[in-house]
């Protein structure tokens, strides 16, 4: 319901601004208009004429308090009325939104007869789609849609480092890559690599489950159809003419078999890959 809350807060603000603007415009118009009329209408002549004609004078005496009333009360009443309409319209907008949102949610629940399992799959899919498309940040769950832009950028930065952080946590990859290997012999390095490889492989399998883009033996001849995806298949060598092409598979390529993004909570230094460890004796 966070979306609703944030939207209703925002709509409240904008409707309020709009109302004030309208009041200002209208009341200013009326004030100026009335001023203009009073400067043009020759009151003195009217009064003079009224002195001669008793019927007109009686009429004017009758109108006088009404005009007086209007002059005193018009502005407060009009402002009050506007605010009243503003409140009503905001409530209407909000209730429409809440209902629409609820319906959407029920549709989601009702449409899939398989229940929760499916919902989470659906959510997952959403995330995956988000992840695949370049330039699009992953689709977060509803409440996160409203986090500020700065937080969003911060989070993106953290996502960028996240996989490396996991590989460091589980397999000490960053320690390994940054270490100077010259003083050690190959056997020593091999022993360390075995452990790093095992743990990083597990993490990679768990978070990305890499799959081949083309699951054929390398060295086999393949045909590239005209509608091929140039992001997924890179052509090298003598590339001329129009597809379909036929060629030899040199590398099977990799794609992520899954993209299960964790949920990153809180804020913090987005540049930390692994914290320093201090043991307190």
């Amino acid at each position: 319901m966070n979306v609703v809350r944030s939207f209703s807060r925002r709509s409240f603000f904008w409707l309020f601004i709009l109302t004030i603007l309208l009041i200002a415009l209208l009341d200013a118009g009326i004030y100026l208009g009335a001023g203009y009329i009073f400067t043009r209408v020759p009151i003195d002549q009217l009064q003079a004429a009224a002195a001669d004609a008793p019927a007109l004078k009686a009429g004017m005496d009758e109108i006088q308090p009404v005009i007086e009333w209007i002059r005193v009360l018009f502005f407060p009443v009009s402002i009050g009325l506007f605010f009243f309409f503003f409140l009503i319209s905001w409530l209407v907008v909000r209730s429409i939104l809440v209902r629409a949102f609820k319906r959407e949610r029920y549709d989601e629940l009702g449409a899939n007869k398989e229940g929760v399992g499916k919902i989470s799959e659906k959510k997952k899919k959403k995330k995956e789609d988000g992840g695949y498309e370049p330039g699009l940040e992953p689709v977060f769950e509803e409440k996160e849609a409203v986090v500020s832009k700065r937080e969003m950028e911060d989070r993106q930065r953290r996502y960028y480092l996240h996989l490396l952080a996991v590989l460091q946590r589980e397999g000490r990859l960053v320690d390994f890559l940054t270490e100077d290997l010259t003083p050690y012999d190959d056997a020593q390095i091999g022993a360390a690599v075995r452990s790093i490889h095992e743990n990083c492989q597990k993490s990679l399998e768990k978070y990305l489950a890499p799959k081949f883009v083309m699951d054929k033996n390398e060295g086999e001849s393949v045909t590239i159809p005209p509608e091929f995806d140039s992001n997924a298949i890179k052509l090298t060598g003598n590339v001329t003419g129009e597809p379909p092409f036929s060629g030899i598979l040199r590398h099977k390529g990799w794609r992520a078999g899954k993209l299960e993004l964790p949920e990153l909570t809180g804020t913090g230094d987005s540049k930390i890959i692994a914290p320093a460890e201090v043991e307190i004796p």
């Binding site: 229940g115 929760v116 952080a165 360390a192 452990s195 949920e263 990153l264 809180g266 913090g268």
Partner: protein, 602 residues
């Protein structure tokens, strides 16, 4: 709950919690899929991931760690207790702030289970929690995670409004069960039903096999359920008989609470390698030891899956001096057989008894770990007790169902089967052998089985007849002249017989007690897994070691102080699986519930 949309099975494990569920609202009832709920949890600061299991560890973080929302959950910011994967990994790094094996503390009679004592040996500034509270924290976490993931804004989908089945070890006595229900009530789950874990594993097998299960077992089968998890071992016997042409399942015996499991095995391997390294002149510190335990766990899995050869175990150097400080060693299949298979599952006679604990003058309080790690010897003792009342053909189990992560290793399953095979000899000398009933998932079966049990209770499947896993007694003093220097002998009155089923009650009409109003009333409360044939109302005078003291039952009668009230006892096993004992006044309708004393037992 009749209008619930889901049946939820919760395996509140000693080391891992698992939640399985089935959607009864939308599915055609005959083909219910049982799913595992993926539980979001903190795996490292700022990171929440979903996992199939929630490690049953609680971490009480210092205030400095909760800054910047590092330990925030999607549904809660700045929780004071972290549950799950991160708590488990912190357990090795900051042991004084982590509560592990919360469940085993619930049945530990040497402590007051409602007093704040956990984490055991925590420093002064840590706000401790009680064993009951620890279980409540785990259940609260599961409820909130479910309500966030599944229920969202729809309160009718909230966990507290579903049909919940919570598993407990078969060895849990009436007091531990009562405490589990109390913990659940504190966690906001007042309505749930208890089920024994080994039974749940059996239900999971029934669910997996579908209607075929009837052809996979035979009448006169005696099925041993051998559940060896991360921290505990649990045995049960299920006897299969035939009534009116239908197979009937009876749970006829349950084992003792044994604190030995897979974690002990990893530690044993690590100590073995540590010794080997020390002999070669390499000393490792506490931090490297943790890496060694972790490496041993991986190597164990590798070797057990290959069943031959060896797996390297490397301990990487600390800090960023990774390659230079690497220590390398290896575990071979022979080591594994010698240490794990022979150490934890030695071949032994059916008459073997677990080695008695060394009687130290002062035993440290805390968890009572099994003093003999040999699971097969515990199994022998259990079977000897469990089959003592079976007089016909069957003497040894004819089939075995394995459960628990340790049982993934075929080498261990084969060893247990070999041992059981050697014991399988009938009274008439025939040798039927033992066969394995195959489960598919050793880790998730209990939760799935619990959910299936909920389905079976709705009349859709077979139910195991179980009832109480112990006979329960209260102590009454013998009416005899006092002899100076001799305590009045205590006799045991059976109040709830073994196998007393859920939803039944016993009213001990012909035995009256005279209680004094205003003074605390106290009965000694005993239990026995051996004496299975005492009917309610039976008085046992001489029981040697067959009956054990559990706790005391207490109440305070209200009314004019000093008056005496004659009461009868009214005992019921509730539908949810707890035992209730009431005093009912003979003169009027007044009733007083006798409460279990959970304080420290001297």
């Amino acid at each position: 709950m009749p209008d619930s949309k889901y049946i939820i099975g919760i395996d509140l494990g000693t080391t891992n919690c698992i939640v399985a569920y089935a959607d009864i609202g939308r599915q055609p009832e005959e083909n219910l899929p049982f799913r595992i709920f993926e539980i979001p949890q903190i795996v490292s600061p700022h990171t929440v991931e979903k996992r199939k299991s929630l490690p049953s560890f609680l971490y009480l973080p210092p205030a400095v760690e909760t800054k910047e929302g590092a330990l925030d959950l999607p549904w809660e910011s700045g929780p004071s207790i972290v549950v799950g994967e991160y708590a488990r990994s912190r357990g090795a790094e900051v042991p004084q702030r982590v509560v592990a094996s919360a469940k085993s503390w619930l049945c530990n009679t040497s402590v007051d289970r409602n007093s704040s004592i956990l984490p055991w040996e925590a420093p002064e500034d840590v706000e401790k929690i009680s064993p009951v509270q620890a279980s409540a924290v785990l259940l609260t976490y599961l409820r909130k995670a479910w309500n966030y993931e599944v229920a969202g804004d729809d309160p009718s989908l909230a966990m507290e409004h579903q049909d919940i089945y919570l598993t407990v070890p078969a060895s849990f006595d009436a007091v531990a069960r009562e405490l589990t229900v109390q913990a659940a009530a504190r966690a906001g789950l007042p309505d749930l039903t208890l089920l024994e874990e080994p039974q749940a594993a059996f239900y999971a097998w029934i669910e997996k096999s579908g209607e075929k299960w009837r052809t996979l077992v035979d009448k006169n089968d005696l099925v041993l359920i051998c559940d060896v998890g991360g921290g505990t071992t649990d045995f049960s016997l299920i006897r299969i008989t035939e009534e009116d042409g239908n197979l009937v399942l009876d749970r006829t015996a349950v084992g003792e609470h044994l604190l030995v499991g897979g974690d002990n095995m990893d530690l044993t391997l690590a100590y073995f390698l540590n010794k080997k390294l020390a002999e070669a002149g390499t000393r490792i510190d506490a931090w490297q030891m943790r890496g060694l335990v972790h490496g041993c766990r991986n190597a164990k899995e590798t070797v057990f899956s290959k069943e031959e050869g060896e797996a390297p175990v490397t301990i990487l150097g600390r800090g960023s001096g990774l390659v230079g400080g690497t220590i390398k060693t290896s575990l071979t299949a022979e080591d594994m057989t010698a240490i794990l298979v022979d150490g934890f599952f030695p071949k032994c006679d059916p008459d073997a008894a677990p080695l008695a604990p060394k009687q130290a003058g002062l035993r440290e309080a805390g968890l009572v770990y099994a003093s003999d790690p040999a699971i097969t010897r515990h199994m022998a003792a259990f079977l000897k007790r469990g089959t003592s009342d079976i007089t016909d053909q069957i003497k040894a189990p004819t089939a075995v169902l394995f459960n628990g992560g340790v049982m993934k290793a075929r080498m261990i399953r084969e060893r247990i089967k070999a041992v059981l095979n050697a014991w399988s000899e009938r009274h008439d000398g025939s040798h039927p052998g033992i066969r394995e009933i195959n489960t598919e998932d050793y880790d998730l079966a209990v939760a799935r089985g619990a959910a299936y049990y909920g389905y079976a209770r709705r009349g859709h499947g077979i139910r195991i007849r179980g009832g109480l896993g112990k006979s329960y007694y209260i102590g009454i003093e013998a009416a005899m002249p006092a002899v100076p220097g001799m305590p009045t002998p205590v006799k045991a009155l059976c109040v709830a017989p073994f196998g007393m089923e859920e939803g039944t009650r016993v009213f001990l009409e012909d035995r009256e007690f005279v209680l004094v109003v205003g003074e605390p009333v106290r009965f000694d409360f005993f239990g026995s897994t051996i004496r299975k044939n005492d009917p309610a109302g039976a008085v046992v005078e001489d029981w040697h070691d067959e009956i054990e003291e559990i706790t005391t039952l207490e109440t305070l009668l209200d009314g004019p102080s000093g008056t005496r009230i004659r009461v009868n006892l009214d005992i019921s096993v509730t539908e949810i699986g707890t035992l209730e004992i009431w005093c009912v006044s003979v003169e009027d309708e007044n009733r007083w519930k006798l409460e279990f004393n959970v304080r420290e037992q001297s």
